[in-house]
């Protein structure tokens, strides 16, 4: 555990030591801020229209009309930003030969992989924590469901974990960070659109595509419904790609 935290701390501080981390954080906050402002203004406009509707004023659910779309958009932003955060995790270490320090230290490959994973997740936790003030505004002005907000954050964290695990494995296959970025983003996009392909398919194919899709698993979570199967799906997904990264790093000892 001590070694995992040492590596994680180094990775986390590396994000703040380079422009990449600050740029990613700024871009994330700028875009989520834009979406939040747009959604709030749309929500207030629609509520006003509903209030003056001759057919009565049905209750516009804040969770459904604002919280869920906000986190839906945040997920898409993460899809673009996380590969930029994970591209350097192994690629840079291989290029600078710093990986040799890790491989010749009395630590296990599992500790190396988990350390890098935890470090990247730490930065994403900082990014997500920076969006808490948006939620604070909602609580100040309205009455969102705490459970929905909490499970939405859980969804973002699990989804980010899945993105980071894919980014880790793609980063371990190359010394070139741009290649790592393109590979990571390509893989994530493919897993993302599986959900769309599901609607164009039928039978078993549709079921398999629906099961594998990263996006489908998130929908219930952003509605405040935490199913064990969804959490288990993300945890299994993360474990699979972390295992693949572990095997790849082990293979460095034979190449």
């Amino acid at each position: 555990m001590r070694n995992i935290l040492a590596i994680a701390r180094r990775e986390l501080s590396a994000y703040f030591a380079t422009p990449v981390g600050w740029l990613a954080l700024s871009a994330f906050l700028l875009i989520t801020g834009f979406f939040f402002a747009a959604l709030v203004s749309l929500y207030s406009m629609q509520s006003a229209e509903q209030a003056f509707s001759p057919y009565g004023a049905p209750d516009m659910n804040l969770n459904e009309y604002l919280v869920a779309p906000f986190f839906g958009n945040t997920a898409i932003i993460l899809l673009f930003i996380v590969p930029a955060l994970t591209m350097r995790l192994f690629a840079e270490d291989r290029k600078t030969r710093a990986l040799e320090l890790l491989l010749t230290s009395p630590i296990t490959t599992t500790e190396i992989v988990l350390g890098k994973f935890v470090g990247a997740m730490g930065f994403i936790a900082v990014m997500l924590a920076c969006t808490l003030h948006y939620v604070g505004v909602l609580f100040y002005l309205g009455d969102p469901d705490v459970g929905v907000v909490a499970s939405s954050y859980l969804a973002m964290f699990l989804l980010s974990g899945a993105f980071v695990s894919v980014g880790l494995v793609t980063s371990s296959f190359t010394e070139n960070q741009v290649v790592s970025l393109v590979l990571g983003f390509g893989m994530l996009l493919l897993l993302w659109v599986l959900g769309w392909a599901e609607s164009a398919s039928t039978g078993l194919t549709a079921e398999v595509l629906g099961f594998a899709s990263l996006i489908n698993r998130m929908e219930d979570l952003t509605k405040g419904l935490i199913h064990t199967r969804d959490v288990a799906y993300y945890l299994s997904f993360i474990s699979f790609f972390l295992f693949a990264t572990h095997q790849r790093v082990e293979a460095f000892r034979w190449s």
Binding site: R2, I7, A17, A98, E100, T104, P106, W254
Partner: protein, 299 residues
């Protein structure tokens, strides 16, 4: 302390090292020599646990480098040919991080000691990528020393350095030798090996071709080259007549290469004087042996 037995490493059809065996007793400083691609780095990487072997066994302090890798790594400090640095880190933080990974109890204090040991105290607060190559090499050395290892494995610590930086690193290596650690030092600077090591292991094309004390290595045979103003059969015959000269080769343009038994330069100079001695040179002993063993014959 270090025992390597029949170590072989193959990459597909390519054999990097084959049947490599040697021993380094505790506290000995050994020079590891060989041309580029001979298998030096491969052997060192296997010993440090960053590379697996196809066949064979290696132990450090009686512990197997493959099955007891963690314990072995605790005992080894390794400086690869390219120092394993994080360029964006501050020197002090980097060395402390290396200390943490190596299981040091107080990594910050250990880092300070290692930094002072390699003469980096005045740049401890600086970012690694802003340092000169010589200083970066020192940071790499501090990383290797931070856990006070019993064994140091240094892979070309002075490669790519300018002459002044080379002297600095050589002086540093001199100091490290005094610590009574077991050291395997690989370098192409044979003068450094002669100055620092008592024993050498020479590897060529993946195989050990010599392993002995420098004094005993290659017997007494040496090479002397003379250039005379008036070459010819008489000059060659005069050279052959010198005591201890076993062979004379006419290289043309008045240059004769002599193989001698022991240091016969004075006698050769006296014999060459009547023919107009222009130049006489005897290669450094280790260089001569190295070239003979790695190039097949003395060029």
């Amino acid at each position: 302390m270090i025992r390597v037995e029949h170590l072989t490493k193959r990459y597909g059809a390519t054999t990097a090292i084959e049947d490599v065996s040697f021993e380094v007793p505790k506290g000995q400083v050994v020079g590891f020599l060989g041309p580029n691609g001979a298998g030096k780095s491969t052997t060192m990487r296997i010993l440090t646990g960053s590379l697996g072997a196809t066949e064979g066994r290696a132990t450090v302090d009686g512990r197997d480098v493959f099955t007891d890798a963690r314990e072995v790594k605790r005992r080894i400090g390794y400086l690869p040919e390219v120092p394993p640095l994080y360029p964006n880190m501050v020197v002090r933080d980097y060395v402390a991080f290396a200390g943490q990974l190596k299981g040091v109890k107080d990594p910050v204090a250990a880092a300070e000691r290692a930094i002072a040991r390699v003469g980096l105290a005045q740049v401890g607060h600086r970012i690694i990528e802003h340092l000169s190559k010589g200083y970066r090499q020192r940071v790499g050395l501090a990383q290797a020393l931070v856990h006070d290892p019993e064994v140091l494995i240094l892979d070309e610590p002075n490669s790519g350095l300018d002459p002044a930086q080379r002297v600095e690193i050589r002086d540093l290596l001199h100091d490290l030798v005094e610590d009574k650690r077991t050291i395997i030092l690989s370098t192409h600077v044979l003068a450094d090996i002669e100055a620092i090591c008592r024993r050498v292991i020479i590897i060529n094309k993946g195989r050990i071709v010599a392993e002995d004390d420098i004094e005993r290595l290659g017997g007494e045979q040496r090479t002397v080259t003379v250039a005379v103003a008036r070459p010819g059969d008489a000059a060659i015959a005069a050279m052959r007549a010198v005591e201890g000269v076993s062979a004379v080769v006419d290289e043309g343009e008045g240059r004769l290469r002599l193989t001698t038994d022991g240091d016969r330069r004075e006698h050769v100079a006296n014999a060459a004087a009547p023919f107009g001695l222009l130049e006489l040179s005897g290669r450094a002993r280790l260089e001569e042996i190295y070239l003979r063993l790695t190039m097949g014959a003395t060029p």
